[in-house]
């Protein structure tokens, strides 16, 4: 699609084709209506120009038929756009299973990435082609946003919670990514590159940077150093606090009889605001760790608790994903 002058950015994810198709469709509708209205107006303006300063044209009252026609047709067209857009969006925002997870922390004005295998990067993200990648994103300060034009994805990173975004790159290459939520002085400098690599190349890259501790392992160390283990047991097998094995990804029954799905957001809340949702059979004795952990450390603790669960997430090895 790259002509002498680009009108659309490079298209490098499974999602970008869908977005482009819809974009072209709406463009078609827009061009059609704009031309239609312009032509009709120009035609009328020339044909019915004032020829005599005193002429008074005959009044025309209006027409119910026409009004209906030009309300219903645009409505129908608009609805096709709505449903199409909603469908693509829905799929894009549902978290995929079996994705490679990357932890992302934004802060004024840089991005930190950490792979599940421990590799850390700043303002650059290396990922393998043809695999689902899921970013779990947090921010230390204000709202930021990870925007990769070539993948047609964008999600705000909001303080106080995790947001996620996923994609599957289809073409190796170096793609710009930007912070797309205004965040202060250096907002326009808060970007970098997503480097999409062939599986083998990626494998090499991983092993070339393999000396760092995985987030789950770092989380495990903190689990001991912060004293979590004193209640939850050295291996999180339980004690004064509930066992954390197999919590992630399942439903937890709370003491008020409701259930909550234990996703990353739930784990985050359990650590920062443990009183909010109390597991049935336990008292509200867990202290809050609000203000004692950086977003990165928190993500590591969450990664550790997740690693205790059988709901496996993929590790970023280069095995091609099983194709169905």
């Amino acid at each position: 699609m790259q002509s002498w002058f680009p009108f659309i950015p490079e298209s490098a994810s499974t999602y970008s084709g869908d977005v482009d198709a819809l974009y072209f469709y709406i463009s078609g509708v827009t061009i059609f209506f704009t031309l239609l209205i312009s032509f009709v107006i120009i035609f009328f303006v020339i044909k019915y120009r004032r020829r005599n300063p005193t002429e008074i044209p005959r009044p025309i009252e209006g027409s119910m038929k026409l009004e209906t026609l030009w309300s219903v047709i645009p409505l129908l067209i608009a609805m096709t756009i709505f449903f199409w857009g909603a469908k693509v969006y829905f799929n894009q925002y549902r978290p995929p299973q079996n994705a490679i997870e990357v932890y992302v922390v934004g802060k004024q004005w840089m991005w930190k990435f950490q792979h599940a295998t421990g590799q850390r990067e700043i303002n650059e993200l290396h990922i393998p082609v043809g695999r689902k990648i899921r970013l779990i994103m947090a921010t230390e300060d204000v709202i930021h946003d990870v925007f990769v034009p070539a993948f047609r994805i964008k999600t705000d990173v909001v303080p106080g919670r995790y947001t996620t975004e996923w994609f599957e790159a289809t073409k190796p290459g170096r793609y710009h990514f930007f912070c797309a939520e205004y965040c202060g002085m250096n907002h326009s400098g808060m970007g970098g590159y997503v480097v999409v690599m062939d599986p083998t190349e990626f494998e090499n890259w991983l092993s070339g940077n393999a000396n760092q501790m995985s987030p789950a392992a770092a989380g495990q160390q903190m689990f001991e150093s912060l004293g979590c283990a004193s209640c939850h047991g050295a291996n999180a097998e339980g004690g004064r606090g509930p066992a954390l094995l197999g919590v992630y990804g399942n439903n937890v029954t709370l003491n008020n009889g409701q259930t909550a799905r234990a996703d990353e957001g739930y784990l985050r809340e359990s650590i920062l605001n443990p009183q909010a949702k109390i597991v049935t059979g336990f008292g509200p004795i867990m202290p809050s760790f609000q203000g004692q952990l950086s977003e990165e450390q928190l993500l590591q603790l969450v990664a550790y608790v997740k690693s205790l669960s059988t709901t496996k997430t993929e590790t970023p090895t280069a095995k091609p994903a099983p194709k169905k």
């Binding site: 002058f5 009108f7 659309i8 950015p9 977005v19 819809l22 974009y23 709406i26 509708v29 827009t30 704009t34 209205i37 107006i41 303006v45 019915y48 044209p57 005959r58 009044p59 025309i60 026409l66 009004e67 030009w70 309300s71 645009p74 608009a78 609805m79 756009i81 199409w84 857009g85 909603a86 693509v88 969006y89 894009q92 925002y93 549902r94 204000v142 709202i143 946003d145 925007f147 034009p149 047609r152 964008k154 999600t155 705000d156 909001v158 303080p159 106080g160 710009h176 930007f178 912070c179 797309a180 205004y182 965040c183 202060g184 002085m185 250096n186 907002h187 326009s188 400098g189 609000q290």
Partner: protein
Amino acid sequence: MEEFVIPKQAGANYLNAEHGLKSWLLTKDHKRIALLYLGAISFFFFIGSLYAMAIRLELLSPQADLVQSSTYNKMFTQHGIIMVFFFLIPSIPATLGNFLIPMMIGAKDLAFPRINLLSWYIYILGGGVTIYALLAGGVDTGWTFYVPYSTTFSNSYVIAAGLGIFINGFSSILTGLNFIVTIHTMRAPGMTWYRLPLFVWAHYATSLIMILGTPVIAITILLVALERLAHIGIFDPAAGGDPILFQHLFWFYSHPAVYIMVLPGMGVISELIANFSRKNIFGYKFVAFSSLAIAVFGFLVWGHHLFVASQSVYAGMIFSFLSFAVAIPSAIKVFNWTATLYKGSISYDTPMLYALGFIGLFTIGGMTGLFLAALAVDVHLSDTYFVVAHFHYIMVGGTLLAYLGGLHYWWPKISGRMYPEGWGRFSALVIFVGFNLTFAPQFVLGYLGMPRRYHTYPADMVSWQVLHVLSTAGASILGFGLMVPLIYLAWSLRYGRIAEANPWKLPGLEWQTASPPPTENFLTTPIVTTEAYEFAPPEHKSVVGRFARQPPAKV
């Protein structure tokens, strides 16, 4: 309507009824207050435009060369704040609306003249506080004041700017209140709802939004200011607050506010299209009620600004659906305007050129809103230059053109002088060309991925720079085009041809009194016996053929 007594030109009018600065600053005449607004608003437009030019110059090249990032951020913030809150929202309602609504409905003044003057002072106070914020060091939060940046992290004069907007909000509320009460209670005998000019309907709908939406932004800005002052935590996640709640509250007002900005423009266009083709508007009731529909539906779609802000996916779908629904009343208007031209007697006077330009540019601006309302496409386009192009197409290509068109159209009534027609047409054309060159490239830029509020962009994006250069070139033409009317309108105040009472030969009530009108508008309260835009007397309706008989000569 032949029975009107049109005052002699030489007689007293609202301009020369009293003299001296005090007579202006303490006036309760809606026409004089409109002129006070006109002056103040032009001033703010001028300031906002200077920022726009600085932004365009800076973006000529990918690096930072004119200013530093912190300055650039203040530039677009202040450009946005001034243009939105101090120029576009009051522009048409407070000047043309203020001047014309009482005249169009046959009243002597607005229902609450003192409150009308008070709203001007509030506006000046709010504007003054905001100007203070700019001079003291500026604000850099973006016109959207997103938390927690605005509450905790920004080092700029957020409280002062917020206070300015807060104060200004009451000016808007009081204007809306005044219009609503006036339209309900002050119509002349015989002026039924369905005889109201569409300009009045549009302002009625606008006033609804002003009184229902503005209080919410007031309380929201107040909370931001308090939070900043006392670090209390209502939007601060560290205290359990939720930044997204701020966004809901902000857009609950600010989306409807975009209809405050465009509805009065639509009202002007309805007048221009009907009057300059000498036809009653096609589908009067549809155009009238579509204004109300926009005002009501406009309150249901604010969440389309939060599609990527981690709002619930399902709420996103509801908001997307409703956003498409709100496009329909706008579509109805566009089609009815077009149909009004059919078999009309169309003149090419300057106001009509602006009106025709409006229809085209508003269509493009509105239709590109559909890209943004389509969830999956908005994910890519949100916070890019596509959005910037979208709203400039509506706000500049739409409302600003309508404002200029209306100003030319009613200039003889307001000033008692004609503007130079040749220059008028010339500048309308230049503005049209310059405008498109400025903002059309930004659509492409946006889809290519250029984020908005960016001081610098990657140098390897050659295509981006090409588009930015085009845009800046366009802005220079646009700026030149806008300066021409500024000059000749001022010139015409002194040297323009003296205007007759009804230079365009139109049936509207405002043309049935002297130019400029006397202080209480009409010498006697008019009694209305005809429909709006009734050029030919009713007995001509049955005549076959395109034209009715020659009209009875109007005075």
